[in-house]
């Protein structure tokens, strides 16, 4: 997520052209078009206006998903991010909108400071955002201003913590670390993967 704009704006493909056009339309400073996925990076105050423009002017009527990524220096689960030293700690909220007639699509992205994690709700633009925002709110602790019913979707109302934050430990791994005593093989490294691959081919 640290690509510089000069690298990606050179991509001479239709996806790149589409991304550049949309970024210009909504006044976004940065965009990328890698792996067939267009990201347009917005500031928090551009969020609702950009989604409205996507719906009304770019005809992206289909609401695909809304979610977030917790960019954290310390992780309780899994592997840490690349280049942790220079990592900018933040929540990145993503919203994917696509066309109902062809394969045009883009992902709106905005970054929220961890101590000020709120965003305007998209429910008035895309009705389908309601459940996705509820999910993101409970899983990441992000507040969506203007949401009609921002209560927990999956978890009990009295649940404490936000499970998809990187600081939230995975209970199963806490009580039973992995690889454990009963596991025959370690997390694959160069040597034992080769051995494992051979047994895979012959086994069962």
């Amino acid at each position: 997520m640290t690509d510089s704009p000069s690298e990606t704006t050179e991509a001479p493909n239709t996806l790149g052209t589409f991304a550049a056009d949309f970024a210009a339309l909504v006044g976004a400073e940065r965009w990328t078009a890698d792996h067939g996925t267009v990201h347009v990076y917005l500031s928090r105050d551009q969020w609702v206006a950009a989604a409205t423009a996507a719906r009304d002017e770019t005809e992206l009527a289909f609401f695909s998903f809304l979610s977030a990524v917790d960019w954290a220096k310390e992780v309780a689960v899994g592997e840490p991010a690349d280049d942790v030293e220079n990592l900018d700690e933040r929540y990145e909220v993503l919203c994917r909108l696509s066309s109902g007639t062809d394969d045009t699509a883009l992902i709106l992205s905005t970054s929220l400071a961890k101590d000020d994690a709120w965003l305007d709700s998209l429910v008035s633009v895309y009705a389908g955002a309601a459940w996705h925002e509820r999910e993101t709110a409970e899983m990441f602790g992000i507040d969506f201003h203007g949401h009609p019913n921002l209560i927990n979707l999956y978890l009990p109302q009295e649940f404490e913590g936000h499970p998809l934050r990187k600081s939230f430990a995975l209970g199963a791994r806490e009580v039973k670390p992995w690889p454990g005593k009963v596991d025959v093989e370690e997390l694959p490294s160069t040597e034992n993967v080769e051995a494992a691959a051979q047994t895979d081919g012959e086994g069962s």
């Binding site: 067939g36 690349d82 394969d103 699509a105 979707l153």
Partner: protein
């Protein structure tokens, strides 16, 4: 509370005197343990007599936290997790995920592997739709179709098992190709590293049986007057609502959204090689949702028949490094699952484990419209609407 405006007004005629009765609303809890909720969906309905004034779906009883679990597992291990999302179409779940990893790694699956993936995806689609077409009449009061369609579906499950070794949780895709089971299934005795002996004949037979199932369902259900009365005009979803709520797959096509990811340019599998139609409905009601699926079974049969005649030779697996490290990058890859758009947003930071995996499942968005379309319905119509959306709670809660 504006939602109470939808209260039904009951007119009682008694000797020419008409009295308007406004009922007290009461809260009716449907589920989580209820046969019509396909698992553990809970609906909190505020009802005025038989009419629903407000509906709050409560989900999460099947929430397994797959996105969190994925952050502690290697990509190969995640394949085993994700075919349990929508277990009625387990194989199809894997394809989009594996394609997303392949996109990030920069590996192209071999042509033979792509065809095998395509055939199995379509078999999964037929199997999924047969489960729907058999359980939907059951919800409307007819049990015969359940037996008939499940009987024919078993042939498809046998084929899937003979190739992958699993009926539901196939765990069959690998980055760069597929991994056929060694000696799995009934028709396969010897250890083999390709499609089992007699595979094409078994598929051909399963397709014949699936066609029989369609014919039988047409005779028993499609023209059935009771089904028409229960499903036509019930639970109408407009085209605009379908798009804004992110409703995809057969549910959206029943509302007239002419969109199928299989025929888009970014399609994951070589559907362009085959001749088939995208089925759309007009009315967006429960009956159209039923009909679209029945017709889709026939289209899928067409695809499979064309595909088994032209499976290319060659390796099943492209060359992939032994230790799969996925370069840093993000990709969203989606596929036309039997239930709609199934997508995976992978954030890789260069390791063996994804930094974040967002799973976009079809059923989650598909049922989020329930609280809108249920208002004003009778309770039996709610069951008819719910069944026609063809959701699986594992696909809703993930």
């Amino acid at each position: 509370m504006t939602h109470l405006d939808h209260r039904g007004i009951v007119e009682v005629s008694d000797g020419g005197v008409s009295v308007e009765l406004k009922g007290e609303t009461m809260t009716l809890n449907i589920g989580p343990q209820h046969p019509s909720t396909h698992g553990v969906l809970r609906l909190i309905a505020e009802v005025d007599g038989e009419r629903i004034a407000r509906l709050d779906p409560a989900i999460g009883y099947m929430h397994r936290g797959k996105e969190k679990l994925a952050e502690a597992r290697t990509y190969a291990q995640i394949t085993a997790l994700i075919n349990r999302i929508d277990w009625v179409s387990g194989f199809a779940n894997e394809v989009a995920f594996i394609r997303a990893v392949e996109e990030l790694v920069g590996v192209e699956p071999t042509p033979r592997a792509q065809y095998i993936r395509l055939i199995l995806t379509e078999l999964t689609r037929i199997s999924n739709h047969l489960v729907f077409a058999s359980s939907y009449p059951l919800e409307l009061g007819g049990a015969t179709a359940l037996m008939w369609a499940f009987r024919e579906r078993e042939h498809i499950m046998d084929v899937i098992e003979s190739v992958t070794g699993g009926r539901f949780h196939t765990n069959f895709n690998r980055v760069g190709g597929v991994n056929p089971v060694a000696g799995g299934g009934k028709s396969q005795k010897k250890v083999s590293l390709d499609l089992p002996a007699g595979f094409y004949a078994a598929v051909e037979n399963a397709m014949d049986r699936a066609e029989v199932a369609c014919d039988e369902l047409d005779q028993l259900v499609t023209g059935n007057e009771i089904i028409h009365m229960r499903a036509k005009g019930v639970g109408i979803i407009t085209k605009e609502d379908a798009l804004a709520y992110g409703i995809s797959g057969p549910n959206a096509r029943a509302s007239g959204v002419d969109f199928d990811l299989r025929i888009q340019e970014d399609s994951l599998l070589p559907y362009g090689d085959f001749d088939f139609d995208v089925i759309t409905g007009e009315n967006g009601d429960s009956f159209d949702r039923y009909l679209v699926r029945i017709l889709e079974i026939r289209e899928s049969i067409k695809i499979v028949r064309q595909a088994i005649g032209s499976v290319p030779d060659g390796p099943l697996q492209a060359k992939v490094p032994r230790v799969l490290k996925v370069p840093p990058g993000t990709a969203y890859v989606r596929a036309e699952n039997p239930k709609g758009e199934m997508g995976y947003y992978i954030v890789s930071q260069g390791g063996r484990i994804p930094y974040r995996l967002k799973i976009r499942s079809a059923s989650f968005s598909n049922i989020s419209i329930m609280s809108k379309i249920a208002v004003g319905q009778l309770i039996p119509d709610l069951v008819a609407t719910m069944g026609s959306l063809d959701f699986v709670l594992g696909d809703v809660d993930r």
